[in-house]
């Protein structure tokens, strides 16, 4: 029973976070482009995400005539389930985790590889050119970055000697620098690039590329089904930001302990990374998909392998 309550609280907090991440994004990008961002709904536009949510909920749910209905229905659900399942294994503070499993890191990989099926199937099931191209791009993207993403974290696994996310944070606190981002700077760099591709964010937002493919894989989706994809994307960003925080930035530990708010530093780091996401989106142009492929295979994977070899040597010598 307590578990169910914990789950509901977690989902509620995360959904609220998702709603206000969109507000945060619109404000940040607005100010970067010398605009105001949302200001009209509520004070400072703070009720804008709520208004958007209500609007999306009551919009007409359009399904294209020749779509493959079963998969069309299933695709956004696959995306959202895969994104949300990750939340269970993330430790937000010492002991504050829904399911402490000893392969937490691999679980996150497994679930995020499942999420790409939602995107691919949405593209195929919509039976539309734009969606299909978006789906194909998503697949080529998956095979370009996923290996680099996995390899970039091997260094962290070697240093921590564990796949358990809580233990990785604990091992980090004991390490010389307190965070792995310094000794693992190469792995951190590869991870950040792969993280952007994983979450389909600029500059790797090829599957949705609104200037070429309308909206890519979710072109044909509307109303609540569209918002499921939207939620999955933002939860995915949150999850990847959490993994970056846990594996490279020291998790919930900070320069001083904040009383009563054990997850203060965790949240602060996550919001820092979210700001980084938005900053990149406002700054960088989109990669072409063959450029992403050669980046993944010719730059990121060799760098990640180099990182593993160097980490191994350092670990054996010291």
């Amino acid at each position: 029973m307590a578990l169910v309550v914990h789950m509901l609280i977690l989902v509620g907090v995360v959904l609220l976070h998702v709603a206000y991440a969109t507000y945060f994004e619109r404000k940040v990008i607005g100010h970067m482009q010398v605009r105001m961002g949302p200001t009209r709904v509520g004070p400072l536009g703070l009720l804008q995400p709520i208004a958007d949510g209500i609007k999306l909920f009551f919009k007409e749910d359009v399904i294209p005539g020749c779509a493959d209905r079963t998969l069309f229905y299933a695709a956004p659900i696959i995306c959202l389930v895969a994104a949300m399942a990750n939340l269970a294994v993330l430790p937000f503070a010492s002991g504050l985790v829904l399911a402490k499993i000893n392969i937490g890191l691999l679980f996150v990989f497994a679930m995020s590889s499942l999420a790409s099926y939602g995107v691919v199937l949405a593209g195929w099931a919509s039976n539309s050119k734009f969606s299909f191209l978006g789906g194909l791009r998503s697949m080529s993207q998956v095979i370009s970055y996923e290996i680099a993403l996995g390899l970039s974290l091997v260094g962290v696994m070697m240093m921590a000697g564990s796949l358990d996310l809580s233990e990785i944070v604990a091992a980090q606190q004991q390490s010389r620098f307190g965070i792995y981002a310094i000794p693992q700077f190469l792995g951190f760099f590869v991870f950040v690039v792969a993280m952007l591709a994983e979450t389909n964010r600029a500059p790797f937002d090829l599957p949705e590329a609104e200037s070429e493919l309308v909206a890519g894989y979710f072109t044909e989706y509307s109303g609540i089904r569209f918002s499921l994809f939207f939620m999955a994307e933002y939860i995915g960003m949150l999850v990847m930001a959490s993994i970056a925080t846990i594996c490279f930035l020291g998790g919930w530990s900070g320069p001083f302990a904040v009383p009563h708010v054990p997850f203060f530093w965790f949240a602060a780091k996550i919001y820092g990374i979210m700001f980084f996401y938005f900053w990149l989106r406002a700054t960088l142009p989109r990669y072409r998909y063959d450029q992403l492929m050669s980046l993944g295979w010719k730059v990121l994977i060799p760098l990640a392998l180099l990182n593993i070899v160097v980490t191994g040597f350092v670990k054996t010598i010291f």
Binding site: L106, D290, M293
Partner: protein, 188 residues
């Protein structure tokens, strides 16, 4: 029946049903999805056996990488309808007899199954050391040589794949960096 047995029978039944679905589905995309669901159930079986590392790797490698490539190929070929191939053998009954004989052979082989001797890692030891650690200790100490040999064989396969893909590209001429060619190389 213990919970483990119930889980095993659930996973086993679903795996059989999904595998049948994968070969009988008319739509090849659905076939691939059946295999995807089957991989998840196989991961479930590994989990009931305390092999959580294997379960995760099963999903990451097979569901995450291999099946994406399958799906890619299915999309590229874009079979609107099922592929129709003329029968290799005239009489369908012949195939049935062969399959039935194989099945009977397997049934008879069941009898000679026996539990092997106790290994160095009983369940309690694995639970204490965690499966990942136990696997790594075995792989990198006692089975280091076989492990390296397997790695070398895989490396040869990768190099061979690259060589084959390269040759095709130079026959096409121009040697352009097309998206398709880099995909085939990735696949190799």
């Amino acid at each position: 029946m213990t919970v483990q047995q119930i889980l095993f029978f659930y996973f086993a039944t679903v795996i059989v049903l999904l595998s049948l679905g994968a070969v009988t589905m008319r739509n090849s995309v659905y076939s691939v999805l059946m295999v995807l669901a089957m991989f998840f159930h196989m991961a479930g079986i590994y989990l009931t056996l305390n092999a959580e590392f294997l379960a995760a790797v099963q999903v990451v490698v097979y569901a995450g990488a291999v099946l994406v490539l399958y799906l890619f190929v299915v999309f590229l070929v874009n079979l609107k309808q099922e592929a129709r191939i003329t029968r290799f053998v005239k009489h369908p009954a012949l195939g049935g007899v062969m399959a039935g004989a194989l099945f009977l052979m397997l049934l008879f082989a069941f009898g000679s199954f026996s539990l092997g001797p106790q290994g160095a890692w009983p369940v309690a030891a694995i639970e204490e050391a965690t499966f990942t650690r136990a696997l790594a200790m075995e792989l990198f100490t006692r089975y280091l040589l076989p492990f390296e040999v397997v790695g070398l064989i895989l490396l040869i396969a990768v190099v061979g794949g690259i060589v084959l893909a390269k040759r095709e590209e130079s026959q096409e001429g121009a040697g352009r960096e097309t998206a398709g060619s880099s995909i085939t190389r990735g696949e190799a």
